[in-house]
């Protein structure tokens, strides 16, 4: 259990570092980010392999349980990362399993659309050309309830919720969102309840890894992950795509199937979310409190 918490903490720290690296002067440092991603991978492995029935593990896309989210979130962005959105024509997105959860967030947060879209880049654009609108809109929506972060989500303010909405671009066209809004009653409901408090709550498949609230110019460099086709290499693209890829390859397995039966655990915990309020799931209080910033961080990516 301690290992799990430690791993959890390390994952959230790592994500914070990756996020911050994007706004660092001098561009993304490939070496440091590679090392951070390795730590992330190790922590994830420990997290998954440590059998602790009480903890929600990532893997089950359908369960919007907040406890689940951190794990999925951890897996999410990477999953999305490793596989750029279809429009880019590159690797396929993971199956939209987590999507059922996603709608809850935009719906909940729609009300709190107070943040200007200024910080929201065409994150969607970066990886998804045409689907820019929906993602951006989703981003704005998500940015609202930042202050309603829950629990130990002091950190949540650090990470713009924008990326949350980035799930939009994650291969889920706007139309789907509505569809997904009315999935199995309990998950969305629970997610919604939680949503108010959950800034970061939501599908783990954090979409456009590249879709973070960056300045627009970045869009150009991120349009070709890997930038292989370009004669002039785009380091920015390469780095971001690397991270995306790295996380993707690390975490994509999570969504489909977790080693060590993560999925089973997730299912078993589905009833958990219905407890709704974070912190109330007995054995996971400390974890839950950390989940908020964690998932927002992930989403931020």
């Amino acid at each position: 259990m301690e290992f799990k918490l430690e791993a959890h903490r390390i994952v959230s720290i790592s994500l914070g570092k990756i996020y911050n690296s994007r706004v660092q002067r001098g561009g993304i440092k490939l070496h440091k980010n590679l090392l951070v991603s390795l730590v992330l991978r190790s922590a994830r492995q420990v997290y998954l392999s440590d059998p602790c029935p009480g903890l929600y593990l990532a893997g089950h896309p359908g369960a919007p349980a907040p406890p689940q989210q951190p794990e999925e979130s951890a897996a999410g962005p990477p999953a999305g990362w490793g596989e750029p959105p279809p429009p880019a024509g590159r690797a396929a997105w993971p199956e939209p399993e987590p999507q059922p959860e996603r709608p809850a967030v935009p719906e909940v947060l729609r009300a709190g659309d107070s943040e200007p879209a200024a910080t929201v880049t065409a994150a969607g654009d970066t990886l998804q050309g045409g689907e820019a609108e929906a993602p951006e809109a989703a981003w704005r929506r998500v940015e609202g309830p930042r202050e309603t972060a829950v629990g130990g989500a002091g950190v949540s303010g650090v990470f713009p919720e924008g990326p949350e909405a980035a799930r939009g671009p994650c291969g889920c066209p706007p139309g789907d969102e509505d569809k997904l809004s009315a999935p199995p009653a309990s998950p969305p409901v629970c997610a919604r309840k939680r949503g108010a408090g959950w800034v970061g709550g939501g599908p783990a498949d954090c979409p456009a890894p590249g879709s973070t609230p960056l300045k627009k110019p970045r869009r150009n460099s991120e349009e070709q992950p890997g930038g292989e086709e370009e004669e002039e290499e785009e380091m920015e693209t390469g780095n971001v795509a690397n991270l995306i890829s790295i996380f993707g390859s690390s975490f994509s397995g999570l969504l489909r199937k977790s080693p060590g039966g993560g999925r089973e655990e997730a299912e078993g915990e589905e009833s958990g979310p219905e407890a709704a309020e974070p912190g109330q799931i007995c054995c996971d209080k400390p974890v839950l409190r950390d989940i908020n910033p964690w998932s927002t961080a992930i989403v931020a990516f």
């Binding site: 430690e6 390390i10 001098g26 490939l30 070496h31 730590v39 490793g82 150009n220 992950p225 390859s249």
Partner: protein, 446 residues
Amino acid sequence: CFFLLFSPIVPRDRHAVWASRKFTSPTDIISTVEFNHTGELLATGDKGGRVVIFQREQESKNQVHRRGEYNVYSTFQSHEPEFDYLKSLEIEEKINKIRWLPQQNAAYFLLSTNDKTVKLWKVSERDKRPEGYNLKDEEGRLRDPATITTLRVPVLRPMDLMVEATPRRVFANAHTYHINSISVNSDYETYMSADDLRINLWNFEITNQSFNIVDIKPANMEELTEVITAAEFHPHHCNTFVYSSSKGTIRLCDMRASALCDRHTKFFEEPEDPSNRSFFSEIISSISDVKFSHSGRCIMTRDYLTVKVWDLNMENRPVETYQVHDYLRSKLCSLYENDCIFDKFECVWNGSDSVIMTGSYNNFFRMFDRNTKRDVTLEASRENSKPRAILKPRKVCVGGKRRKDEISVDSLDFSKKILHTAWHPSENIIAVAATNNLYIFQDKVN
């Protein structure tokens, strides 16, 4: 006698030292230190893109007991911040490395590099100036040709010594990733520059093209597992160089083997100790610096906690391993949080390859005598820096009862780190960069 008694000579800039006491400008942080081949000059580069060169004063006959001190010789702005509009990337002006060329005439040449661009600078003295121009007067104003009635030949007259630095070559646009190393070849005609994924070979005379000699970029970036962290040419064999990786391995390459040295000639790697495995094993095994010994028979590598000496003829493990600050092993998680675990410490050989030196935290630096196996921890601080004062060995207390002079691990100041040090090529004079201060110590000969 190994335990040299060092006494500080001069801080980087006396006035700046006092000013920096109150306001430490982040651009003053020294980012590289390098003696030239004779040790007469010492160059420092900082985060603000400036290069400051110190010159050793000639020993005067009057004060024969007073060793030559280093004073500022030249200061110039080497790199400026740039913005790559196409990629929306700011390029830092921080000087990552300075490397001197061997002196071939009256002028001094050095290479300085930031993340993207390498520049060759010529530092020369001017102690005469031409006087007696026909077309301009003494202040340089043009004269009306109609007023010129006689012609004269300009002559050189002595003037106050002036040291000027001029950029002679700019080697740009060859690196997509951040340059971490430059190394001058022993042929003095070529040099290499290394970034995270590639190493390029340049000819000093040609700035618009370079040869790519190492490329570890995978076809699919998702498969990226390691990056190049440092590279250096062999001191004598112009066809040989080494580069280290973030995975703790060193590759030795021979440029005669093929144009693209993707296949190494030798591969140095020590098997990992499974008992030390942690989340951060990979980070602490990443090599931050690699240096050939002066003899060319060994290489030294620095990773986060140790310094290792490798014999070029033995690839499966280092011949010597020195613990720099093993007491940090239990604190890796905190060091990861505050980013200290990513600090890139350098390491240096002394002139005879018998002693190696590297930095640590709390402004401590460590020296290891390879022959006697003794080591010492010294501190570079203002308190110890009264001229002629002898440095006292320091000790870190790792547990149990702390003795009076010891400092406990928890009291270490991790913001005071010594990443860059240099050792005079032939004498026991060392330069230690502590954030924005430069300390120069020498041994005291009785």
